[in-house]
């Protein structure tokens, strides 16, 4: 099974000064699957994503991408290797227009007609963005911003998609839509998705596997429906 994983986090420990945010974490995510990372506030979910994309350096352990150790690579090299990290709430460059934000997702090695085609694909997926392509991204609502960053991440044609709380601040109807879309993409393109969510119920509903983090440690790892059926675990860590 090990060689199947596109993304593997091995014994990762990340410290912020005296605080240990991640303590020997092992996580594996396979192509064509959505892997949910669950846990309460401060469990280390965001730190895990930031350690994978290189924004935070682990003090110990490693991050493997398709078997290659990326734990010392710079952020932009990890991005170029096919990891698209959508950070929580702050991914929009508000000073640029909607289309400029999107174009930034697709700078690496595509021809102009290819890019145009992919851009049109995103506009088709999110018609709200097409209407506002020339407007500054600061004028977008929370939901539209979320569409923008996800559309932009998909434009880069990533192998691994790291989503940090994509449902935050979105209306339930839009969350359902978004997760449905995500599921389709994963099934169609064999994307590897690591989904960080506080809303464990809806995350487990679309995920294949899940990990539960508590105080920087993995306390459970199993198939999504097994996790969702575990009453004890749900009450202790997942809050539903």
């Amino acid at each position: 099974m090990t060689d199947e994983a596109t993304l593997e986090v091995r014994d990762l420990t990340t410290r912020y000064g005296p605080v240990t945010a991640l303590d020997g974490v092992n996580v594996r995510a396979r192509p064509g699957e959505i892997t949910a990372v669950l846990g309460a506030n401060g469990a280390g979910k965001t730190t895990l994503l930031r350690s994978i994309s290189g924004l935070v350096r682990g003090t110990d352990g490693s991050v493997l991408l398709g078997g290659r150790d990326m734990s010392r690579a710079p952020v932009e090299a990890i991005a170029r290797a096919g990891v698209a990290h959508v950070p929580e709430g702050r991914g929009v460059i508000t000073e640029l227009t909607v289309e400029e934000n999107l174009r930034l997702g697709d700078l690496l090695g595509a021809t102009r007609p290819q890019r145009r085609h992919r851009l049109d694909g995103v506009y088709e997926m999110f018609p709200a963005l097409a209407e506002r392509r020339r407007q500054e991204a600061s004028s977008l609502s929370g939901g539209e911003r979320q569409m923008l960053v996800i559309g932009r991440a998909l434009l880069s044609g990533p192998e691994v998609l790291l989503l940090d709380e994509p449902s935050l601040g979105l209306a339930p109807r839009i969350v359902t839509q978004l997760f449905g879309l995500l599921r389709d993409l994963v099934d169609r393109d064999g994307l590897t998705v690591l989904l960080v969510e506080q809303n464990a119920r809806s995350a487990l509903a679309i995920a294949d596997t899940g990990f539960v983090l508590n105080l920087g440690r993995v306390v459970a790892a199993d198939a999504a429906d097994t996790l969702a059926a575990d009453d004890e675990l749900r009450h202790a860590y997942l809050g539903f």
């Binding site: 924004l55 400029e100 997702g105 700078l107």
Partner: protein, 292 residues
């Protein structure tokens, strides 16, 4: 009336130079949140390179091109070697480093090129055009000054608006973390930002020098005027820097023409204080808070 026309025309061509200089400051501020006090010294140094070439028998244009190229290299080199280590640290560190460079580059120029005044040629005539029986204070060289500043600005607008590299540079300036997550090599973009800024600064240095005397400190007043122009424009906005530069050029020209040239520096500082009191974010900035 004739004096007003003369003073206005003179102000516009000086203003174009201040605009270029202010633009250089704004480019660096936007990219790295650093006020580059060494901008004037860097421009002076590249102008001296042009002078050396011209005095060795090369054409003005060869010197002109070499100076812009020298600016490009100098800007990139200084960012990589001197500025990079203090980027992201306390703001005061970067300020002190650029002030140190300001002095060091002038000292180096004095050692290499001498500290005496030397005349710098102009590629076009320096006597005013005649309109009817009057001769106005607008020379072929003034036209060249304004024209070259306009060309450089249009080139920058095109670069930032229409090219991928320009988009990457803007993304790096506005949000480094997001830019890096999208695979932009932010470090290279910052180096490029300094390099382009230094080219624009060098252009200002060459234009100020044309038909005048140069010495290692000849850019010092321009730093003050360019800085006032940049603050007037809000420090964030390239368009603001251009308008600020033209306004400062005009204002100082009126002060010089009607009140006396000895008051020019004082007037520039007066404008700076007035702007900071009345509109601390400048005429064009949209940001609501700024620490300077």
């Amino acid at each position: 009336m004739q004096q007003f026309l003369n003073v206005t025309l003179g102000g516009l061509s000086q203003g174009a130079i201040y605009a270029a200089f202010a633009l250089a400051l704004v480019l660096i501020w936007r990219a790295t949140r650093i006020i580059n006090f060494a901008q004037g010294s860097m421009a002076m140094f590249s102008t001296y390179i042009a002078l050396v070439l011209i005095e060795s028998g090369q054409s003005y244009w060869a010197g002109f091109a070499a100076a812009l190229l020298a600016g490009l290299v100098l800007g990139a080199l200084i960012e990589r070697v001197v500025i990079r280590p203090v980027e992201g640290g306390p703001e005061l560190n970067a300020v002190i480093v650029t002030l140190g460079l300001f002095v060091a580059i002038q000292a180096l120029a004095a050692i290499l090129f001498g500290a005496s005044f030397e005349s710098f040629p102009a590629p076009f005539g320096l006597s005013g055009f005649s309109v009817g029986e009057f001769t106005v204070a607008f020379t072929p060289f003034s036209a060249f000054v304004i024209g070259s500043v306009v060309v450089v600005m249009l080139a920058l607008v095109a670069l930032f608006r229409f090219t991928d590299i320009g988009l990457r540079m803007r993304a790096s300036a506005f949000n480094q973390e997001v830019a890096r997550l999208l695979g932009v090599r932010v470090g290279n973009m910052l180096t490029l930002g300094w390099a382009f800024a230094a080219v624009v600064g060098s252009l200002a240095g060459l234009l100020i020098a044309g038909g005048n005397l140069v010495h290692p400190a000849y850019m010092d007043p321009v730093i003050v005027y360019g800085f006032v122009a940049a603050v007037l424009g809000g420090l964030e906005s390239p368009a603001g820097a251009v308008v600020g530069g033209l306004l400062i050029g005009l204002a100082l020209s009126y002060v010089s023409g009607y009140l006396g040239s000895e008051l020019v520096t004082l007037a520039a500082l007066g404008i700076l204080v007035a702007v900071l009191l009345v509109r601390p974010h400048g005429l064009f900035s949209r940001t609501t808070a700024r620490r300077v």
